[in-house]
């Protein structure tokens, strides 16, 4: 609890700093300006040694008295104000609620401070990066859209949550899993399997795959939300669990894997706390259809977007390992993508009974 107190104060101070920027600039008749690190490919670098995407030093000035930026500046200060309020009240909230909290019509005008949530979301990310505060620290949470099951015990608001005793539904991963919110009391698993799709996670959970292979099953229902990523990272770090990723065999699947492993371009500054550079790509690999005898007719033709995306991925620094170049090229050559669900073509329990056991046995994964 004490750590929490100190941390929030730090965040509060960071937010108050924004007001100080305005006040100080005004005193000196200067244009109030906030420096915001640029969140784009141009400002990230892949740290090969650490295996992380790291944010560069490029910053962009957001000035008040610039017609193009004035509104953004005003919005930034408004969001900071709302975040400060959250800190004070010790509440967490969603992106959407921040939007509604800060939205109003500016006095004597027809103008709204924000017209859509698309305007407020990036401002929150701007603040995260420029203040160097995580979203969780800012008390902003995402939807709880992850599930976990397996031999792990949490302490959540004083409640003991044993994920081995929650049936096939498991525990719903909260969006904020920082130690002050979620305590990991015990974990006896041997590894962690992060599954892209909820359907496959359900299959594995129902088949009690985790019991047989003594692992933790985690899913984020698509692109894993921050809570899921952060939890995987904590179990990986705190309990030394190897992390395996199971995704569809398509460019989007590769991308999800890369975000889990190296972090995302947009929020590269969070890689430090989120990325799991040692995570392994279990599948579905473009080599699997042949190896596991999946018929061509359960494949899906790559569309133009897929092809473009795949080619883009091949250019990313973190996909330069020869094995990865082969992996992606093979997909492009075949012209097909495969969903995990396609394994059901062979047997409903093919994933649980054949595919994963063989993968684990053969240690057939990509790094």
């Amino acid at each position: 609890m004490t750590t929490k107190q100190i941390k929030t104060t730090a965040v509060e101070n960071k937010l108050i700093g924004l007001a100080d920027i305005v006040i100080t600039a005004a005193e000196r008749s200067k244009d109030p300006t906030i420096a915001i690190p640029i969140r784009a490919l141009s400002n990230v670098a892949f740290n090969e040694r650490k295996g992380l995407i790291e944010m560069g030093n490029k910053k962009q000035a957001r000035s008040f008295f610039n017609v193009g930026m004035a509104k953004k500046f005003m919005q930034t200060v408004l969001v900071a104000d709302a975040l400060f309020e959250l800190q004070r009240a010790d509440l967490t909230t969603s992106l959407r609620e921040i939007y509604y909290r800060t939205k109003h019509t500016i006095q004597d005008s027809h103008e709204n401070t924000f017209d859509t949530q698309d305007e407020s979301d990036p401002v929150i990310e701007d603040l995260e990066v420029s203040l160097g505060a995580l979203r969780e620290e800012l008390h902003v949470r995402a939807e709880n859209s992850g599930s976990i099951v397996g031999p792990v015990v949490f302490g959540d608001d004083g409640d003991r949550v044993d994920c081995a005793r929650l049936g096939k539904g498991g525990y719903s991963v909260p969006s904020i899993v920082e130690p002050e919110y979620l305590e990991v009391r015990r974990c006896t698993a041997d590894f962690l399997l992060l599954v892209e799709k909820g359907t496959q996670w359900n299959r594995l959970s129902e088949d009690k795959f985790w019991r047989r292979y003594n692992c933790v099953l985690l899913t984020g229902n698509g692109q894993p939300p921050r809570g899921v990523r952060r939890l995987a990272r904590r179990l990986h770090e705190e309990y030394k669990l190897p992390v395996y990723v199971l995704v569809d065999n398509d460019p989007w699947g590769y991308y999800i894997y890369s975000v889990i492993k190296q972090g995302s371009i947009n929020l590269a500054f969070e890689s430090q706390r989120m990325a799991i550079p040692k995570a392994k790509f279990m599948g579905l690999s473009s080599a699997d259809p042949e190896r596991y005898g999946l018929p061509r007719n359960v494949g899906i033709k790559l569309n133009e977007k897929d092809i473009a995306r795949a080619k883009e991925l091949m250019n990313y620094q973190w996909f330069q390992k020869p094995a990865w170049q082969v992996e992606i090229k093979r997909m492009l050559t075949s012209g097909l993508k495969y969903e995990l669900d396609a394994l059901a073509n062979k047997d409903f329990q093919y994933l649980t009974k054949k595919y994963l056991p063989r993968k684990l046995k053969e240690k057939d994964w990509l790094d």
Partner: protein
């Protein structure tokens, strides 16, 4: 009213597209052969046509097609005459028009229900000598303007007597006239009717009376009519008349008892137009034949050189030689075949263009004055083209433009700041421009789309000037487009004289004038846009400063010196948005508009451009005083009605509301009430010698 084509053509005719068959000639004897009938049978039918018969058959040609139009035509004829007379006599016209409902069957219906009206038009003109009064008002085809080629409103010598005749046919009432030729002369009162058989006046009453007016003429007609405001109404016609004739002071007492005054805002008479002889290119063959008969010359060459302009005796001889006719022969003896050769020869001979100094344009300043007076806009401009010639007839095209809403009106709807929901935008403005057309200073209210003036407006690419325009449509926006053609001979498309015919030369001149107006409008709009964007910038900052300061204050736990921070930020904003430079672009520093001759710009800070002219208008408008009712009528019988109307008026004045204003014809179609400014009596006489400054400069807000 230029009614030349209405009846037989004494002057060069030029209706290139007759929509009506050959005008029915009001000859006293109409001997029109009908096919398959013997001469004897015909002879039995041939008889004099009474003027009333002629009138009844041709009332549409004279503007009496329906009761509403007839009411307008009567007013128009009387007002046109009053203005013509004053101008010819060199007097700045003061004209009073009054419409009164005449009780029918013992009750006085409301103006919109009424079917009978008394029209009174009074002027301060030269008056009419006693002997002439009966014939002027009760004899068709009697007038002073017929036998000359000179720019004037009236032409035929039929206008006012036709109106009198219409009254007589519909109500049986005589025309009442008071006229006085000067302060030393006595005033004469007449009641006349027309002997419809003989086309001769019948004098019912003729006496000397006391009249408060030192000089002038007053005509009272009782007619069947219909009073309805809006498009093509008496009200609209008077207002448009006042725009094109700002040298006229016009007082209009409506049938509702309201008194509207259109003040004189231009204090110079238009230069008197000069009379010219017809140009040989402008006449038609039939006309030539008639002139050959009527001429006073004894020789053909003498006829050509003295009855036409730009034909010297040498040129006359040359023409005769080429046409192989003797220059010395009697014009009357030229027979049809030879006459035709002569006509062709004339058309093929190179003859100098007619003199153009016979035309009296309204002038840019006066147009500006008129527009500024009647239309509340932001930008005004006027263009007078140099004289040009079509078919031997000199003419001048003038165009003007009033654009936008006054700053004070712009902000009105914005004050209601309704919070907008997601996805909600602002409604589009679909207002279209309005075209007002004039021929020899007389408004044309009918047949707009057939008129070459209107067509020229449509074919002008207004988009080039920063105004919206859909294909084949009028330009969009709050705009009034003014077009005037001044000519000794205005070519109407038909006898009803409502639309101007398409002559290339005329079309070209109108287009050039409109383009110049458009170019200036574009310049103004660009300038305004530039200034507005600076202004908007500063405004955005002002708007956001509030938000930012409030948020900072909360971040600082409410311990901030808010006002101080606001002031500091505002100072930075001003220095960042160009400060003085912006003020200048916004026209706040009083420098006039660049590259915008003959224009007025109204900003929230004041008036630019023809400032003096605008000041004059404002001063004149502010100085309007109630008309002196008592002066209007000297005759007892008549003054009964007058008293009654005064009483009613007093009553109505008390509850004068914006509705009465809105009911006035709106120049801007939709946003009616903001578009015009009929100055009424009893307005608080402010005393501005400077143009009035709209009062909302204090808190300009960003417009989205």
């Amino acid at each position: 009213m230029n009614k030349k084509n209405a009846l037989t053509q004494p002057a060069p005719s030029a209706s290139p597209r007759k929509t009506v068959p050959e005008p029915v000639a009001p000859k006293k004897v109409a001997a029109r052969p009908v096919q398959q009938v013997t001469a004897v049978e015909m002879g039995a039918r041939q008889r004099e046509i009474s003027v009333s018969e002629f009138f009844t058959k041709n009332r549409h040609l004279l503007g009496f097609d329906n009761p509403r139009k007839a009411l307008l035509t009567c007013v128009k004829e009387a007002v046109d005459n009053a203005l013509d007379a004053c101008e010819e006599a060199g007097i700045l016209p003061d004209v009073m028009v009054r419409l009164e409902v005449v009780p029918t069957g013992g009750t006085t219906p409301s103006p919109s229900q009424a079917t009978r009206f008394r029209i009174t038009v009074m002027d301060n003109g030269p008056g009419i000598v006693r002997q002439q009064i009966p014939r002027i008002f009760a004899k068709l085809l009697y007038g002073s303007k017929f036998h000359r080629l000179r720019m004037s409103r009236g032409q035929q010598g039929i206008g006012i007597s036709a109106a009198g005749m219409y009254g007589q046919l519909t109500t049986g009432k005589p025309v009442k006239i008071i006229s006085r030729t000067g302060p030393k002369a006595v005033a004469h009162f007449f009641e006349v009717q027309i002997d419809t058989k003989k086309n001769e006046p019948l004098v019912h009453e003729n006496k000397q009376i006391e009249w408060n007016q030192p000089q002038g003429t007053q005509v009272t007609l009782e007619v069947e009519g219909k009073y309805q405001k809006g498009r093509a109404s008496v009200d609209e016609w008077l207002e448009q008349t006042s725009i094109a004739n700002p040298h006229v002071r016009l007082i209009y007492q409506t049938p509702e008892g309201e008194t509207n005054e259109y003040p004189r805002t231009y204090h110079e008479l238009p230069p008197a137009p000069r009379e010219i002889k017809p140009h040989p290119y402008g006449i038609e063959f039939g006309m030539l034949l008639k002139m050959l008969q009527d001429t006073k010359s004894h020789s053909l060459s003498g006829f050509l050189s003295s009855d036409f302009c730009r034909v010297s005796p040498q040129l006359a001889d040359e023409i005769c030689k080429t046409a192989m006719v003797s220059p010395t022969m009697k014009p009357r003896d030229l027979k049809s075949h030879a006459a035709e050769t002569l006509y062709q020869t004339i058309q093929n001979t190179k003859i100098m263009a007619p003199p153009t100094n016979c035309i009296s344009p309204i002038g840019e300043k006066a147009i500006l004055s008129g527009l500024y007076k009647q239309i509340k806009g932001e930008f005004y401009t006027a263009v007078s083209r140099p004289p040009a010639v079509y078919r031997g007839n000199p003419f001048i095209i003038e165009a003007g433009l009033a654009y936008g809403n006054r700053p004070e009106n712009q902000t009105k709807p914005k004050q209601l700041a309704m919070p907008k929901a997601e996805g909600e935008g602002e409604d589009e403005d679909s207002e279209l421009a309005r075209v007002i057309r004039y021929a020899n200073r007389v408004p044309l209210l009918y047949q707009q789309s057939a008129c070459s003036m209107f067509k020229a407006v449509l074919s002008t690419s207004w988009k080039n000037y920063g105004v919206t325009q859909s294909r084949g449509a009028l330009p969009g926006g709050p705009m009034v487009i003014f077009v005037h053609m001044a000519s000794v001979w205005v070519p109407f498309t038909s006898e009803s004289k409502e639309a101007i015919a398409d002559y290339d030369e005329i079309q070209k001149e109108i287009t050039l004038a409109l383009r110049e107006c458009g170019r200036r409008l574009g310049l103004f709009l660009r300038r305004r846009e530039r200034a507005a964007s600076e202004y908007r910038r500063r405004n955005i900052f002002e708007l956001y400063i509030e938000e930012v300061v409030e948020a900072c204050n909360r971040l600082k736990g409410g311990k901030l010196l808010k006002e101080k921070l606001k002031a500091q930020l505002r100072k930075i904003a001003t220095s960042r948005t160009g400060g003085m430079k912006t003020d200048q672009a916004l026209g706040k520093t009083g420098t006039g508009p660049e590259g915008l001759p003959h224009s007025i710009i109204v900003t929230s800070e004041g008036v630019e451009g023809e400032v003096e002219l605008a000041s004059q208008v404002e001063a004149d408008a502010a100085a309007t005083v109630p008309p002196v009712d008592a002066d209007l009528l000297g005759d007892e019988k008549l003054s009964v009605g007058a008293t009654k109307s005064r009483a009613k008026k007093a009553h109505l004045r008390a509850d004068k509301t914006p509705q009465s204003k809105a009911a006035q014809m709106g120049l801007f179609a939709e946003k009616g009430s903001s578009g015009k400014k009929p100055i009424r009596t009893r307005t608080q006489p402010e005393k501005p010698n400077k143009p009035k400054r709209p009062a909302n400069a204090a808190a300009p807000r960003r417009k989205k």
